[in-house]
């Protein structure tokens, strides 16, 4: 044998030109094979037809201004946007007295001011921000919206409506269901048989009945069990019903995350001397919740859309109030319904899509996998 030779790795070469860049992307993603090409062409045709119809209805043939139905009665009919414009106040505030609507605006604004910096990871003062949003804001919102204190005119919750009700129900449900759901999930995995049975019972009962039933029970049957004279607000009862219902779903989502955490994590936490609550809070839950962000947001989105069911107990959420205004004879046109529904759908979609995008952003940000 001769003496050892020195080994040098080969230098890297650039990738073949047809696999990278715009050309490479189009080639590999759209026209890789004859059947791919066919599918691409069909999909483009379908897209063209859909978008063309939509643009005609919503923009080209649509009516944008007018004081009543006459403006929308044309030969070629598109969306009747003046209907939405005229009713926008109703859609947002419901029957909230017009002179008091600034209070709702103020609550919306102070909520947004608290929420936006919280959602931006780089923004400072997170602790103060959370205290503001979870401590100060709910009290402030309650006082401002219900009134009756500090010289504010009282406004009955039966007069609330539209987007206001949708947001109050959805946000309360979201904020309450996550911690409740976590506790229920931990309870369901507990070693203590009574705690476990109670949690399983709660989850299975609330998950096993439709939300409409829960709302109906909360608003119609609950008062029957309460003593005479004791009565609390219908909206409040709905809020509790929605929170309990969605916490049962949340519990199962969180339990899925807890089960995905390897046993070694529990053992490592225990071996370091961390007790149950500390290891849950510091080790298990941060990992479990991160894993189930898609499921959590799924539940949030479902909850947001389920708020439309409060109509069943006589509360007018956004969709309810839009439908209610279809009966207005001065706006009766063939396109009123579809315009109203399109508007409601768009508003719901904006909120749900925002939640969806934010969850994807958070998933990426929290990822600690090898890049």
């Amino acid at each position: 044998m001769s003496s050892a030779t020195h080994w040098t790795p080969k230098p890297p070469r650039p990738a073949p030109v047809h696999t990278v860049g715009v050309r490479g992307w189009i080639r590999t993603n759209l026209f890789a094979t004859p059947s791919d090409t066919l599918l691409t062409l069909v999909a483009m045709a379908v897209l063209y037809l859909t978008i063309d119809t939509l643009v005609h209805w919503a923009y080209i043939d649509a009516t944008f201004s007018g004081a009543n139905r006459d403006a929308c009665l044309k030969a070629v009919q598109g969306a009747c946007w003046p209907f939405v414009d005229a009713k926008l106040g109703q859609f947002i505030y419901g029957r909230y007295p017009e002179l008091e609507r600034w209070r709702v605006d103020l609550v919306f604004a102070s909520g947004v001011i608290g929420l936006i910096p919280l959602l931006i990871p780089a923004a400072p003062f997170k602790r103060a921000n959370v205290i503001y949003l979870l401590g100060f804001f709910p009290v402030f919102a309650f006082i401002m919206l219900t009134g009756g204190r500090f010289g504010l005119e009282p406004v009955e919750t039966t007069d609330w409506g539209g987007l206001l009700v949708t947001l109050v129900v959805a946000i309360t449900g979201i904020v309450a269901s996550l911690p409740l759901g976590i506790l229920l999930a931990l309870g369901r995995r507990s070693q203590m048989p009574i705690v476990r049975s109670l949690c399983i019972g709660f989850i299975e009962i609330f998950r096993g009945v439709p939300l409409i039933t829960v709302l109906f029970m909360a608003s119609v049957m609950l008062p029957l069990f309460l003593p005479d004279g004791v009565n609390f607000d219908k909206l409040m009862r709905c809020l509790i019903g929605v929170a309990l219902f969605s916490s049962a779903y949340m519990a199962e989502v969180v339990r899925g995350g807890l089960q995905a955490i390897p046993k070694g994590q529990y053992e490592a936490a225990a071996a370091l001397g961390l007790g149950y609550w500390k290891s849950m809070r510091l080790i298990i839950l941060p990992q479990a919740l991160k894993l189930v962000i898609p499921g959590i947001v799924n539940t949030f989105i479902g909850l947001f859309k389920d708020t439309t069911l409060v109509l069943i107990v006589g509360l007018f959420d956004l969709l309810g109030i839009v439908q209610f205004h279809f009966t207005d004879a001065s706006w009766a046109t063939p396109e009123t319904h579809i315009t109203g529904y399109a508007f409601a759908a768009f508003v719901f979609w904006v909120f749900c899509f925002a939640m969806s995008r934010y969850s994807i952003f958070m998933e990426n940000r929290l990822s600690t996998e090898r890049d």
Partner: protein, 246 residues
Amino acid sequence: MSDPIIEIKQMNKWFGNFHVLRDINLTVEQGEKTVICGPSGSGKSTLIRCINRLEQHQEGSIRVEGVVLDDSSKGLEEIRSNVGMVFQQFNLFPHLTVLENCVLAPIWVSKMAKAEAEELARKYLERVRIPDQADKYPGQLSGGQQQRVAIARTLCMNPRVVLFDEPTSALDPEMIKEVLDVMVELAHDGMTMLCVTHEMGFARKVADRVIFMDEGEIVEENNPQDFFSNPQNDRTKLFLSQVLQH
């Protein structure tokens, strides 16, 4: 002589009906390095997992620094914080950086100030030779580096004894040495160690005593020299002939 750190008397354990540990008697003195070896399924991991009560024994007694391990969870967290453990699968917390992994228990269990805990953590990361990885996540490190972080994490609690549960079994051959080197250094610094391992070279180099287990029993124990050159029991001889052949 001071009290033994670990004192196990007539300890028995069952998994359901399976008698996994049988009449175990074992005493570990301060500063002693004990290596436990044996075929898989012999109960060696279960034995050391009983010492910080990740597994519960049913008969006999285990004392750690004089405190009896039993069902009362009072004091268990205290014992666990004094008994370090290094796992086969590292079990680092993947959502925390290396430094955060190390300071977690000092801050939350020992109530140490954050700055002090970080200083301590950096000292131990230095000692396991990965000071420059402090801000990375475990998923970005190699297996050998992860295991060294796990050792540093354990040392940060300033444990009286460290239990090693097959610390090199999940590692690529090229990384075993870097972990063993750290363990040898730790042994030379006087740490009390109880290691379940198949690394016979390590046992020869640092152990004060080697224990051979099979079928849930301690079959033989001796100092490493006699253990390897002059095993008494046939079962030990068979085992050694199989692990030392290559």
